[in-house]
Amino acid sequence: MDSKQERNLELSPVLVPLLSVVVALSCGAILVFIQGINPILAYKVLFTTAFCSLDGIAITLAKATPLILSGLAVAICLRAGLFNIGAQGQLISGALASAWAGYTFVGLPALVHIPLALIFGAFFGAIVALIAAVLKAYRGVHEVITTIMLNSIVIALADYLTSNPFKEPDQPLTRTPKIQASARMNELFGLPLGFFLAIGFSIALWWIMRNTTTGFGIETIGRNKNAGWYAGISVKKTIILSMLIGGAVAGVAGAVETLSIVGRFEPAFNAGLGFDGITVALLGRANPLGVIPAAILIGGMRASGSTVQFEAGVAPELVDLLLAMILFFVTAPLLSKFFKNRKENVAMTSGWSN
C-alpha cells in the first residue's frame, strides 16, 4: 500500500461525515431559502446559540449527553452486526425505572442514591433489549422489527404505569412524583455531571472493543459470524451480550436525562432521543469515540431549535429535516466514492435469515 492510500484511509473516516454535514446543511439552506427565510441568518443563529456562549455550551452538552449514550447503544450493537432501533424504548424504560428509584427510596445519601437509580435504569433498559436479543439469537427474528415494536410497547406500558400505579397523587397530569433531592444529578465544574459520565462510558467502551477479548469477540461476530463460530465464539452469546450492553447504556441515557433534567418521568418526554441515537451512531461510524463529536453537533442543533424559530422564523423541525439529510449523506456512498478505498463494514445486516 503506498503512502497516499494509507493517508486516505486515515482521513476519510473523519472526512466523509464532515463532508456529509456540510452537504446536508447546504441542501437545508436551499429548502429554507425557498420558504423565504435567510439561510445564513438561520444557520448563524443555530450555531452561535449552541456553541458561542457559556450558557449555550452548557445546554448543548446537556443535550449531547443522552445522545452520546444512545449513540453508544446503537454503535455497540452495530459492531456486532445488529441494528438496535430500540434505543428509544430502552431509554424510556430506563428513564421510568430510574424515576421510580428516584422517588421511592427515601433517606439515602446522594452517593448511593444516584448510582442506584442509574443501575435501575441500566437494568430495565437491558431487559427490554434482552427480549429482542433472545428472539434474534434463538428464533432468528430480525431485531429491526422486534426493537421497533418494543419501542411502541414500552411507550404504551410506560404511559399506563405513569397513569396508574406510579402516578403522582392528587393532581391530574400523567407523571410520576418528583425524585428525591438526593437523586438529582447536578453540575460539576459548571457542566452537567451526566456529560462526564457519558464521556466515561464512551472511553470505556472504546477501550473494551479495542483491547479486550470481549471486544474482539463482538467485533469478529459482527464482521463474519461464521468465522467467529469457527474461532469458538458463540454467536448467540455475542448477540445477547451486545444487545444487553446496548440496552443498558440506552437505559442509562434515559436515567441521566431523568435525574439531571426532567426530575421525574413524563410520557411525553423527549420523543426523539433514541432515533437521534441512530444518526449519532452512523455519523460517528459506529466508533465509541466517534459518537462524541457527532452527539455534540446534533445536541447543539437541538439546543438552538427554539431560538432559531424565535429569531429567524424557521420551525424547529428544520433540525429533524437536516438530521435526516445528514444521515442520508453519511450512509449513501456518494461522498465516499471520492475516496476510492475499502468500504468500512459498519453493519453486516442483510435480510431476515441468519
Binding site: N211, T212, T213, G217, N224, N226, Y230, A231
Partner: protein
C-alpha cells in the same frame, strides 16, 4: 471449417491484477479447444468476457463473424453461445423445467405455458441423452444430475458454441468420462466447444487443440499429439513441476483421532453422515477421497464441533469432544483448515496478524486474562508471515487484499504453527496457485512427520494419491473402503467414489 469464435487482443484488469493480457484465440466449428491454466491464470475471466458477464478493457470478440457488444449476455445467448458454469447457475428452489425455461419462457400474453415447457424439457433430455426429471427440484438433485440440467440449459437455445468452466470438478472419474463422451458427440454435430480445466488428464483425452494461459497471457497453443502432461504442466507453471510430492515412509503410532458411529445432518435436516467411523494415527495422513456432496463437509464440521452430532462420538487422544463447541475441540488439540476460507477461515477485513490468532485470541500469550496483548499479536504476525512465505508487505495489511493462495497460507500458517495433535485439512488447496499448493503440501507432510494425525479431505484424487499414507473413500455419507497408499488404484477408487462396488 467455419470459425465460430474469434478473440482478438482481449485484456481485462481487476484493480492491480491483470487477469487477461492481450489474448487472441479462435474456436472452430466441431472442434474442442481446451483452455488450460492453473488457478488464477485468467481462464474464467476470458470466457466470462465471451459470454458477456465481464466487460473487457480492450480487444474484440467476434461470434460467427459479427462483433459482440461487451457485457451483453442476452446478445451472446442469441448469437448461439451457451455456457456451463463452474458454480451452477440454477435456482435451487425451482424445478428443472423452470430453470430450463428461465429467460426464454414459452408463453402467451405473459402467462407461462407450463405444459409446453415440460414437453420441451423432456424433448431436450431425449435429444442429447441427458436424462432429467422435469419436476424435480434442483436442490434435491445429486450434483451430477444438476450438472446435466446446467448443460441442457445451455444447449436449449440452439447453441453453436458451448463453453464449459471446470465442469469435472464435481464429478467422479466415471461421470467425467461420460461427460467427455457427451462433448465428443456434440463436437461431431458441429458444435464448437471451449472447455476450461486445470486437469491435464482430461485435456489429453478429449481436446482437439489446447491453449495454455499463464498469469493472464497466452503461452501458446498445441495439440495432444504434440504434447504431454508434463510439458503442459511446465507451460502452465513456467518451470518444472513436481507432480508428486516427495515424502518418506510414514511411521504411524497411536490413534489420536477416533470417530465412532457418527450421524450428522446437513443444513436441510437430511442425514449426511451415516454411522461413520474412522481412525487416524499419529504420524500418518489419512486421505478421505470423495466427490463433494457426499457428507465430507458435514463430517469435518462435526469433528471440529461446529455442527451438531446426532449420535456417535469424536475422540481426540481418547477423550471425547463436547458437541457444538469449536473452542473445546480446538483446545483438545484439533487444528482445522476449513473448506471455505472466506466463510470460516478468515475475517477478510481484519489484519493478517489478527487472522493469525483468530482462534487463539483469548489464550496466552495473546491475551492476559481479559486484556489482549496487541504487541504480541503483531510480532507473532510478522514472524509467521516470514516463516510461511506469505506475500505481503507486513502483517498489518488487511487479509482481504491477499491472493487466494496467500489467504490460504494465512490459514495454514495459523493452524500448523500451533500445538499439532490432530490436523483436519478440508480441500486445503482449492483455488490456490501451484506454488502455494506445493508449499501447503510440504507443510502437511512436515506436520505428519512431527507426529500429528492428519485427516486430509479432498475432492482432488491426485492430491490424495500424492499425500496420503492410507486412503478411505466416502460415498453417500459412509466409508465404503479403506486401503493403504500402495494398494490404491485410481480406477477402483473412482468407482467407489461413484458408489459402485469395486
Amino acid at each position: 471449417m467455419k470459425t465460430l469464435l474469434e478473440i482478438h487482443e482481449v485484456s481485462k484488469r481487476f484493480g492491480s491484477v491483470i487477469a487477461n493480457d492481450a489474448i487472441s484465440l479462435a474456436v472452430n466449428e466441431g472442434e474442442i479447444l481446451a483452455l488450460l491454466g492453473e488457478n488464477g491464470a485468467g481462464k474464467s475471466t476470458l470466457v466470462k468476457a465471451v459470454f458477456g458477464l465481464v466487460k473487457p478493457d480492450s480487444g474484440v470478440i467476434k461470434i460467427n463473424g459479427s462483433v459482440m457488444e461487451s457485457g451483453d449476455t442476452a446478445a451472446a445467448i442469441s448469437s448461439g453461445v451457451g455456457m456451463v458454469h463452474q458454480h451452477f447457475q440454477l435456482v435451487p428452489v425451482m424445478t428443472v423445467t423452470e430453470n430450463l425455461i428461465l429467460g426464454d419462457e414459452p408463453k402467451k400474453f405473459g402467462v407461462v405455458n407450463v405444459k409446453k415447457a415440460r414437453a420441451e424439457a423432456l424433448e431436450l433430455s431425449e435429444k442429447y441423452g441427458l436424462h432429467v426429471d422435469p419436476d424435480a427440484i434442483i436442490e434435491d438433485l445429486p450434483v451430477g444430475m444438476a450438472q446435466r440440467v446446467e448443460i441442457l440449459k445451455a444447449l436449449r437455445r440452439d447453441v453453436k458454441l458451448l463453453i464449459l468452466d471446470e465442469p469435472t470438478a464435481v464429478l467422479t472419474p466415471q461421470e467425467t468420462d461420460e461427460l467427455l463422451e457427451v462433448l465428443r458427440n456434440l463436437a461431431k454435430r458441429g458444435v464448437g466447444i471451449l472447455f476450461i480445466t486445470h486437469k491435464l488428464r482430461e485435456v489429453m483425452a478429449v481436446a482437439d487443440r489446447i491453449a495454455v494461459l499463464r498469469g493472464g497471457k497466452l503461452m501458446g497453443t498445441t495439440t495432444p499429439n504434440e504434447s504431454s502432461e508434463s510439458k503442459l504442466a511446465q507451460m502452465m507453471v513456467g518451470r518444472e513441476v513436481v507432480l508428486r510430492v516427495k515424502k518418506t515412509q510414514a511411521k504411524p503410532k497411536d490413534v489420536l483421532l477416533a470417530v465412532k458411529n457418527l450421524h450428522v445432518n446437513d443444513d436441510r435436516k437430511l442425514e449426511a453422515v451415516k454411522n461413520l467411523s474412522l481412525e487416524v494415527h499419529a504420524g500418518e495422513i489419512l486421505g478421505l477421497a470423495g466427490v463433494e456432496g457426499n457428507g465430507q463437509r458435514e463430517l469435518v464440521e462435526a469433528i471440529c464441533s461446529m455442527r451438531p452430532r446426532l449420535s456417535g462420538d469424536v475422540l481426540v487422544k481418547g477423550r471425547s469432544i463436547p458437541n457444538m463447541n469449536p473452542k473445546a475441540a480446538h483446545l483438545a488439540g484439533i487444528s482445522h483448515i476449513p473448506e471455505d476460507r472466506e466463510k470460516h477461515g478468515l475475517v477478510t477485513s481484519y489484519s493478517i496478524a489478527d487472522n493469525l490468532v483468530l482462534n487463539q485470541y483469548d489464550q496466552a500469550p495473546f491475551a492476559r486474562g481479559w486484556v489482549r496483548d496487541l504487541e504480541k499479536v503483531s510480532s507473532n504476525g510478522e514472524a509467521l508471515v516470514e516463516k510461511f512465505d506469505i506475500r505481503a508487505p507486513g502483517s498489518s495489511l488487511t487479509a482481504g487484499s491477499l491472493s487466494g493462495g496467500n489467504k490460504q497460507k494465512v490459514v495454514v500458517a495459523r493452524e500448523l504453527s500451533q500445538q499439532l495433535d490432530v490436523v483436519v485439512a478440508a480441500q486445503p488447496t482449492r483455488g490456490v496457485d501451484v506454488g502455494s499448493i506445493e508449499f501447503i503440501h510440504t507443510q502437511l507432510i512436515a506436520a505428519r512427520d512431527a507426529g500429528a494425525a492428519v485427516l486430509l479431505v479432498s475432492a482432488e484424487l491426485d492430491e490424495i494419491l500424492s499425500l496420503a499414507d492410507r486412503i478411505a473413500v466416502i460415498s453417500n455419507g459412509k466409508i465404503v473402503a479403506t486401503f493403504s497408499a500402495q494398494e490404491a488404484d485410481r480406477n477402483t477408487i473412482g468407482r467407489l467414489m461413484a458408489g459402485l462396488a469395486s
